[in-house]
Amino acid sequence: MKIAICIKQVPGSNELTMDQEKGILQREDGRVKMNPYDLVAIETALQIKEKYKEVVITSFSMGPKRAREVILSSYAMGVDQGVLITDPKFIGSDVYATALTLSKGISLNEEFDIVICGRQTTDGDTGQVGPAIAEHLGIPHIYGVIAIDKIEEKHIFLSQQIENKKISLRVKMPCVLVISKEAYIPRLPSLKLKLEAKKKKIKIMSFEDLNDSDIRKFGLEGSPTQVEKIYFPNKSKKETLLSGNANVIVDAIIERLKGEKLI
């Protein structure tokens, strides 16, 4: 069985602050990490590999060259092989273009039985890429997967949570699974695998490797949505700000709660 997982490198922190004097945005630091939701996708694939025979897991990431770091991290957790889809031509991709690029990368590599995605990223935060990849691949997706129950030759049995319902499903493969953060607890990378990861190869794919000569489908040109502008939300006027002596503060809180008849 062949499993593809989609992972993304995201900024380590989302802190952006405003330099009040100059009126400009400031980023806290330039660190990056693996999108935490994708760790659960990796864990799901690894659990399948532990239970069933002949499972090969491939991680796919789209991003700048430094995104190879998340592929290495996935190796350190136990993923078998990795593909980095990277090209300056992909810059500015929205969900549609990102999902198109990833789905082309995935389908050109192998015929996968299962594609696993995290529920959302911490930077883009749209939670759409998984379902969009499925649509590009022309296969169904299952959203909100909380457990893999059983895998048979052509079918996967799984549990899904939709609002407050737990639903047991039997789905014909291939399919895309969008995993809930609560599904599995991701394991820590092992030192042994971490060392081995450094020796493992990462396959690099660029625009030329995607078998599609129409550049207008990719990057900013290929993105139906366009960001017109980005701005700081208006801050309304502050109520009086209390600070200083903790006892005075505590008294003020208690008065407030009493005033609202909450104590």
């Binding site: 989302n14 802190e15 952006l16 400009i24 945005l25 980023r27 700048p64 430094r66 990277t86 300056p88 810059i91 500015g92 929205d94 549609y96 999902a99 935060d125 749209t126 759409q128 379902p131 969009a132 649509e135 169904p140 299952i142 959203y143 049995f157 609002e163 407050n164 319902k165 737990k166 639903i167 047991s168 499903l169 789905v171 399919c175 969008v178 809930s180 953060k181 609560e182 990057g219 900013l220 139906p224 949505t225 366009q226 960001v227 017109e228 502008k229 980005i230 701005y231 939300p233 801050k235 309304s236 109520e239 700000l241 209390l242 600070s243 903790a246 003020a252 809180i253 407030r256 909450l262």
Partner: protein, 401 residues
């Protein structure tokens, strides 16, 4: 291909854009500003440049005949025989959007034995309600629901499709939008129709510290999802309209790869949406063990514990306790936020709370802009004292009894 363009003549190398770039994609090399390949064309830098030295060239694509696409289609969400409030909120917003235009509002409802349910929709000022009623639609199954949606869009050709940001919405919206090769903006907090009748979609970006204004200029329909409890519900009209249209889908399109074996209602513990008082823990907490303070406070005040996203991502708090656009929207009598600085994402999820008491160490915290009582202080100093005082009050009350 589009790229960030730098006008070297205008650039004074002030480096404002370098510190602003969330991706670290700008730097100065040989006294010239250069852009690296990890630029995502997000446009944050454009706003920071005071010298107009930066621009992103976008191409206009005139191929699409936009005039063929008009009106708004709302996807009706229902559960356990009830139409979900988010549907009425979307209808409310859609009716506001079309004011002063020739657009009309239509609804799509999919399910099994929903004729009675659909009658409720006729009490809203909607042009037509398209009903797809079939045994195959008893449960949500992505592939065939997507077929229904496509069928309805192909007939109506709406300019705009609005979908609730629920589990079903988050699954179906991207699938349908992708199948029309169009764009979708998720979790919009505001929607506006501009003079070109384009849908201007506003949502928080970069973890919710800034707002992004997004358009879908060259593709139709324009898809947007909106989380529940963000928009105002439409008004119900007194006498029902005769606006129900029964629709059928080709048998071939009813074949699903997904089979539902069992469905179970999960135990509904009282969730944070139902709590009268919420105590929220944020990034101000340095260790997981310290969360006893919010738990104790919640117990003393008969409230519940909730969390900002940061702690959920660290694994310190369960997802069902998360407030914000990617968590739950809450509206308690009182909310005490402890060590929460207040991203737009977070605040959107709780700003309609009746009383907001915010404690955070940084006196410039955004949360103070919406708090009724703002406190700049250390939670490690204030919370133990507050717990102590509340216990004293409890003791007094018990003694009296």
């Amino acid at each position: 291909m589009s790229e960030l363009q730098i006008n070297d003549e205008k650039c004074v190398l002030c480096r404002a854009c370098i510190s602003a770039c969330p991706f670290g994609a700008l730097e100065v090399v040989d006294k010239k500003l250069v852009v690296e390949d990890n630029c995502s064309l997000c446009g944050v830098c454009l706003n920071t440049c005071q010298f107009n030295a930066l621009c992103i060239e976008k191409q206009e694509n005139g191929l699409l005949d936009k005039n063929k696409w008009s009106d708004i289609l709302v996807f009706v969400e229902h559960n356990e025989g009830k139409i979900q409030p988010v549907t009425y909120e979307l209808i409310g917003k859609a009716l506001k959007l079309i004011e002063g235009t020739s657009y009309k509002v239509y609804c799509l409802i999919v399910g099994y034995k929903i004729t009675e349910l659909a009658k409720e929709l006729s009490y809203y000022n909607v042009e037509k309600n398209f009903i797809y009623d079939h045994k195959a639609f008893k449960n949500y199954r992505e592939d065939i629901f997507c077929n229904v949606f496509q069928d309805c869009i192909n007939v109506l050709m709406p300019a705009i499709v609005l979908i609730g940001g629920t589990d079903v919405g988050k699954s179906i919206a991207p699938a349908v939008a992708t199948s029309f090769h169009s764009g979708l903006t998720a979790d919009c907090t505001e929607l506006i129709l501009n003079e070109k009748l384009e849908l201007v979609q506003i949502r928080p970006a970069f973890g919710g510290n800034v707002m992004a204004q997004i358009v879908t200029p060259n593709h139709r329909p324009q898809f947007a999802t909106v989380r529940p409890s963000i928009m105002e519900e439409a008004n119900r009209i007194k006498s029902p309209r005769n606006n129900i249209v029964n629709c059928k889908l080709d048998e071939k399109k009813l074949v699903s790869q997904i089979e539902v074996l069992k469905e179970k209602q999960m135990e509904t513990k009282e969730g944070i949406q139902d709590a009268k008082i919420l105590i929220v823990a944020g990034q101000g907490f340095k260790r997981k063990e310290d969360l006893w303070m919010v738990e104790e406070l919640a117990m003393l005040l008969n409230g519940q514990v909730a969390s900002s996203r940061a702690l959920v991502e660290k694994g310190w708090m369960p997802y069902e306790r998360q407030i914000g656009l990617s968590g739950k929207t809450v509206k308690p009598e009182a909310i005490i936020t402890c060590g929460v600085s207040g991203s737009v994402q977070f605040m959107t999820g709780m700003k309609t709370s009746k009383t907001i008491i915010a404690i955070n160490i940084d006196s410039d915290s955004p949360i103070f802009s919406i708090a009724h009582q703002s406190i700049a202080g250390d939670i490690y100093e204030i919370l133990p004292k507050l717990i102590h005082q509340l216990k004293e009050i409890d003791k007094l009350a018990n003694n009296k009894n």
